[in-house]
Symmetry: C2
Subunit: 238 residues, 2 copies
DNA sequence: TTAATTAACTTGTATTTACAAGTAAATAAT
DNA sequence: ATTATTTACTTGTAAATACAAGTTAATTAA
């Protein structure tokens, strides 16, 4: 583990307000304290408060109205995988159970990889893994992940069972996911997908192809995710 | 038409830089002028420049790197319907041809509407329309739209053929789309959907249910969109 | 030549100040 | 009582300033 760096004040304020909303201290429709009140409460200045509230708004926790204030927005019941929302994943990790299908292993990149790769990535080879994630006993995500093998010593030996990949990367390698791009398609389930997601063959499946950026420029995390959206929807903001 | 209000300086700068990137003045991988250079070039201060660059980064046009600068990001070839990106839609309207299936008409809201409605919305009834949008002769989107009938005089008489719904709302009613929430699913095409999108029945189709917010608080635009993602993917950021 | 240091950049965080613009409630005028 | 107006809030925009922290290239020392 590693000593975390000092957290910026606006980040700290963001996390506090976010937690208060998730814990129900502020409920949907409630008015947050005004910017000036938050300044006093937390001993910071207005631009700092505004920076925190801006993130809150971008991530869908509040709506801002000039002249009125910041109003708490409804919490989506759906699976919020589309919005990484800063530092934590949007699904409560409590309910989400992960099962490893293929343990992390070092290999070459596929020939027809879904995203273009840099030379460094190409040379380094990739760490590959497959997982299925369950929500309330139902398999929802079949997730194939790739990372370039750059400065990730002993990663194939780590315990992935009860910890998200993001957490491993953060705790052992200082790597934070900052955001990324994704392509979305609806495809018919292949035999393999239908087996893992308990679906019939050719049933519609949501396919996400994601390239995630990290605080380490040049290091990206790639994911091909197949989602069973029969019961749960994917939720996002735009 | 209406006289536009004065545009904020950071907004103006955003639009200029965005246009330069789209026009190829700055190409993928290029370094934008530094924040201080932009200050001088446009006669504004750094917080203003940073506000513009922050939006550029959020909308995926650039990546910022501390110590290095702002780097122009690749432009997605896919259909960017997932990111409304401020004031304009992300697909060049040039290539996107709209065909009206059901002309705008006033009616009652469906009983089992996809989003909860306020009392005011419920009472006002809704304006309903159906459209199919083509990209290079191929039908890609089958779009069912709903708006509450609040302060939209004569809207059912407007010419929608060559203009997007967003444009009509902006030009005649001062209404701007600010963002919104969406649910995403993969579903089998119904008979109706397959007819409009030239697909076989039960082929996978992407289904988006969107609630868009406007600058008029209390007025929302709802859309149920079915996408043919066989050839094109939907593109988004997170 | 090579390696370490320094200097000159870059963006990130934060304060302070000021006024504009939208909202809502209290107040005054009809 | 009703309608305008004022007032006191709210967030939005913008400037000027300072220092922290990351990157890169030039300089210096070995």
């Amino acid at each position: 583990m590693v000593t975390p760096k000092t957290i910026p004040q606006y980040r700290r304020l963001y996390e506090i307000l976010r937690k208060h909303i998730l814990d129900g201290v502020y409920k949907e429709g409630d008015l947050l304290p005004s910017e000036n009140e938050l300044c006093q409460l937390f001993g910071v200045t207005r631009p700092t408060v505004r920076q925190a509230l801006s993130s809150m708004s971008n991530d869908g926790y509040i709506r801002k109205h000039q002249g009125k204030g910041s109003i708490v927005h409804h919490l989506p019941r759906e699976i919020g995988i589309l919005s990484v929302s800063g530092t934590t994943s949007a699904v409560g990790d409590r309910k989400l159970i992960t099962k490893i299908i293929v343990k992390p292993k070092l290999m070459n990149w596929p020939h027809d990889f879904m995203f273009p790769l840099s030379e460094l990535e190409q040379e380094s080879g990739c760490i590959y893994m497959e997982r299925v994630r369950f929500l309330e006993e139902i398999p929802i995500f079949y997730d194939i992940s790739f990372i370039a093998n750059i400065n990730l010593p002993r990663i194939t030996a780590r315990q992935f069972e009860n910890r998200s990949l993001f957490q491993i990367l953060r705790d052992y390698y200082h790597i934070e996911i900052k955001g990324g791009d994704q392509r979305i398609k609806a495809i018919p389930a292949t035999a393999k997908i239908s087996r893992f997601l308990h679906l019939k063959k050719d049933q519609p499946v949501l396919h996400l192809e994601r390239k995630m950026e990290t605080n380490n420029p040049g290091l990206f995390l790639y994911s091909s995710i197949f989602c069973n959206t029969e019961k749960y929807s994917i939720f996002g903001r735009f």
